[in-house]
Amino acid sequence: MKARSLVAFTVLGQTAVGLFWAQAMAGWAVSGGDAWLRGPLLLAGALMLAAGLAALLHLGTPRNAWRALGNLRTSWLSREVALGGAFIVGWAVTVLARGARSPALAAGASVLTALAGAGLVYAMARVYRLRTVPAWDTRLTTASFFLTAASSGALAAAFALGSATSSTGGTQAAGVVRALVAVGVVALAVELGAEAAWRARRRAAHELVDAGLNPHADSDRVARWRVGLLGAGLLSSALLWLGAAGVAPVSVSRAGVTLAFLIVIAAGVVGRDRFYANYARRGL
């Protein structure tokens, strides 16, 4: 299926969660103030709000969206909405608490927001674990959603830090950026490996659905774009890390980080677009 707003929703939302985790961990890892993490923190919220807007765009009757909390008993979509709301509320409290210089409150809110974010990514994945949609009903889905959060979130944080003026920073900020890029490299490597698993899953799933209603699109061809972009993202991130470590003659410029970030986001969008395109139902 074509589901552009949902591609945007899931990629933006998972990036926002990953970005929040990244800035939270950076804050815990680095002593001193966290004013230098203000940019990434705000960006996380902005991305999540944009995700929510994209989700609303998907709806046929957005004015009924408030009813989406109406079936927490059995619906993972209801739960996703609840957790998304919790994340936004927690993020807002974190922002306000930091602004009001209440470190205890900020820390508590940050932890709860991070947990809500994890729950949100998990709930997003569970939404797609439909027993009637074999191409989606796999732990690969859950893994992929978390991997998106990790890779896109890490690179987003690196991008945001690279763009932010660092008052406290200097080598600490640089060190954090290096660590983030390393996380991105690892996550991207895992995602590359997962592509082989996805290919096998697509083939297996196609055996379980009616071929007349679900003509097998040549998604292997587009999957190569995904692999290519992942590879490019992995390569550029690795180069940056090596440059930051002083091993490679590459400077960690703002442009370099931005480019790596954009490639990783593109890989995420392409991968998610393919995910939706692989939709096929058992039965009719």
């Binding site: 046929g60 009757t61 009924n64 009813r67 109406g70 009616d210 209603l213």
Partner: protein, 201 residues
């Protein structure tokens, strides 16, 4: 308490779609919305043997609306609670509560929930509950010129026709549909739906 179910005789359906159209007339459904759909399933092929053609072609139809399942996956996944189930098994979709996320459409293995683009929400077969409540048959059942559709108590229909599904309907356990079938003649499980453009989009 009666649990309502459909019986469909796949050995007697011509694919004429009187059921589909009668339902549309009752509901005023717009183009693209089919509360009942008729799927053509075919298989087999042709081989030349000298000057003659040999074939093992088979074909049958499946007329499917909503199966008012015992484990309705649509109800499980709907976030707004727009989908509910009566004690007699009928699954109802309240369009007024629906936000048009189409999640039920993704989930249902029978294609029952239909998205009304102009209205922005889902609708689906309601077993003609107002007819049922007056002791009359659903419109599709009353329409079929070959009398291939019937309805009644699920337990009675299961005792008479057995629980088996017909390819490519999913196994009963997936959602436990209130649908019992007479199998078509001469079909093996290798058919595929041949009229996609007539049942989707």
């Amino acid at each position: 308490m009666t649990r309502w179910a459909f019986h469909f005789d796949a050995s007697a359906c011509s694919g004429c779609k009187a059921c589909q159209v009668a339902c549309k007339d009752r509901q005023g459904s717009p183009l693209g919305v089919r509360w009942r759909r008729v799927y053509e399933v075919t298989g087999g092929g042709w081989t030349r043997r000298g000057a003659a053609w040999e074939q093992d072609v088979f074909a049958y139809h499946l007329s499917v609306a909503c199966n008012h399942c015992e484990r309705p996956i649509c109800l499980e996944v709907c976030p707004t609670g727009a989908i509910t189930q009566r004690d007699d098994g009928v699954v109802l979709l309240d369009a007024g509560r629906c936000m048009g996320c189409r999640y039920c459409e993704w989930a249902c293995p029978y294609g029952a929930p239909q998205y009304e683009a102009d209205a922005g929400h889902m609708t689906k077969c309601d077993f003609c509950v107002d007819e049922l409540d007056r002791g009359r048959p659903p419109t599709c059942v009353a329409a079929c010129p070959l009398r291939a559709l019937d309805f009644g108590d699920a337990a009675e229909l299961e005792a008479r026709y057995g629980p088996a599904a017909v390819h490519p309907l999913p196994e009963r356990e997936v959602t436990r549909p209130a649908l019992y079938l007479t199998a078509p003649r001469g079909a093996d499980g290798a058919g595929r739906v041949a009229n996609r453009e007539e049942v989707r989009g």
